[in-house]
């Protein structure tokens, strides 16, 4: 079974920070269509803060990394998505409490806790056109791959692909929450801004996995 060591996983955070900095203007524009344009700002702040907080730790285990990242995000970006992402990392941290390395089973547990935490905090259900509509498929993807005994690189690739499709599918939905809800039918046809963030997470996780795989 392939997996990633905690020392390796810390490398995920600089990667997320750079990606969200690069996506800043695109996310501002996306959120601007049916929201208040802040998503690019908040997500880059959030993941820069997570990167810095994790970087300050001395050889942290997996749950500590995720918890510290979540707490940093909560502080740095208390917007809707910031708070949900913080909740996700904090819940994911608990799901990884016993995990010494990151493998498919761990990722399945992490994303399930992440998605459920977001659903609970945001009081959203599937189909409400939120980040949950991408997060839940990611969790399902890892769970299915775990059941099937898939390799980490395949699972990550599959989850990423699932996220891309799930994001695409949000176009057909009508926003029920947040500022976008006011746009009602006008939100149909647009991909959900929060879902885009989730998709980026799955994308970066996959790229990271492919680059860093070690066998144990």
């Amino acid at each position: 079974m392939k997996s990633l060591e905690p020392q390796v996983v810390t490398g995920l955070f600089p990667r997320l920070a750079s990606r969200f900095e690069a996506e800043r203007d695109a996310l501002i524009a996306l959120d601007g269509k049916v929201g208040d344009s802040d998503l690019g700002l908040t997500m880059s702040k959030a993941f820069v803060a997570a990167r810095d907080a994790v970087a300050a730790l001395d050889d942290p285990d997996l749950p500590t990394q995720m918890k510290v990242a979540g707490a940093a995000i909560a502080k740095a970006a208390p917007s809707t998505m910031g708070t949900l992402m913080a909740t996700g990392f904090l819940r994911g941290s608990k799901a990884l409490a016993e995990a010494e390395v990151l493998d498919v089973a761990g990722l399945a547990a992490f994303w399930r806790a992440y998605a459920d935490g977001v659903a609970q905090r945001g009081k959203a259900v599937l189909g409400d056109k939120t980040v949950l509509d991408v997060l839940d498929p990611i969790a399902c993807a890892f769970e299915a791959q775990d059941q099937a005994g898939a390799d980490l690189e395949d699972a990550a690739q599959f989850a990423k692909q699932t996220a891309v499709e799930a994001l695409e599918a949000t176009r057909d939905l009508v926003a029920q929450h947040g500022k976008a809800a006011a746009f009602q039918e006008k939100s149909r046809g647009l991909q959900d801004a929060g879902g885009t963030v989730a998709c980026i997470l799955a994308d970066e996780l996959n790229a990271f996995v492919q680059e860093n795989l070690t066998s144990v």
Binding site: I28, D38, T80, T83, R121
Partner: protein, 333 residues
Amino acid sequence: MKKFLNAPEDFVDEMLEGIYRAHPEVTYAADDKRCYVTANPVPGKVGIVTGGGSGHLPTFLGFVGKNMLDGCGVGGVFQSPSADQLLEVTKYVDQGAGVLYLYGNYTGDIMNFDMAGELAEVDDIATATVTGNDDVASSIVGEEHKRRGVAGIFFLYKAAGAAAAAMMPLAEVARITEKAKARTRTMGVALSACIVPEIGKPGFEIGADEMEIGMGIHGEPGISRKKLAPADAVVDEMMDRIFAEQNYAKGDEVAVLMNGLGGTPLEELYILYRRLGQLMDARGVKIRHVWLGEFATSMEMAGFSISILHLDDELEPLIAAEANTPFFKHFSN
């Protein structure tokens, strides 16, 4: 971007430094300027905490003061304060009688206040929550729980603040605030967008002769975008929506808030109010209290909102009560 500022990312904190310099009646908790609190908490009184994004002065922090609120979590522009910050404010203002959370119905704020409330409970601080949802344009009748909170929260602050100042217990303060909430309606209209300093460009485009009726204070879309009409016609259209769902009988009394969004001159608010007065006269409704000016803004956005609180015998004296904050002063006679 024509703004007086230094680095855009310092916008909120430098604003707060200016506020603390100007107004010694307020200070901050936990060594965090965004944990804004009264310098003079009243022992034994229910604390009232609000919070929300910056860019709406005097909302939200401007109503912290005598007979009004006790603390405010200050977020970035249009962003919620964090749960941590709200918790620190909660701890500071709690005087043993519990704390009312009173803020606008926005997802980010709700989640952070909820988290703060859960953490406060661990610290044995009782909290109750009322979220302002006065914006008629933001959802249909029957779906009021989805409505945004806008300028009308001022009346909730006023009622809650006076009730708490009268040393009522938390449940009673919450009940009165819920009642004020149920009787408050707002309609707004915008003529131009505002610019979030860190973004540097307008949040939306609107034609040189267009208005958007029902637009939210972060530029959320409203009910209709159309050609700018004469002032009287604009008021008529807005009030049609409010009259349709709040039943004012002849002889009833209301309080009115004519709120400028930031870029609309006070002169125009009075021209608009003139028409509102005519409409109320025609229905035999008495405007018992009225405030005109900037109460909940979107920085430089041009536009205004009308908030109406349907008074009753319990709410009227609370609305009439004296209040004194750095941003809002009301003599009681």
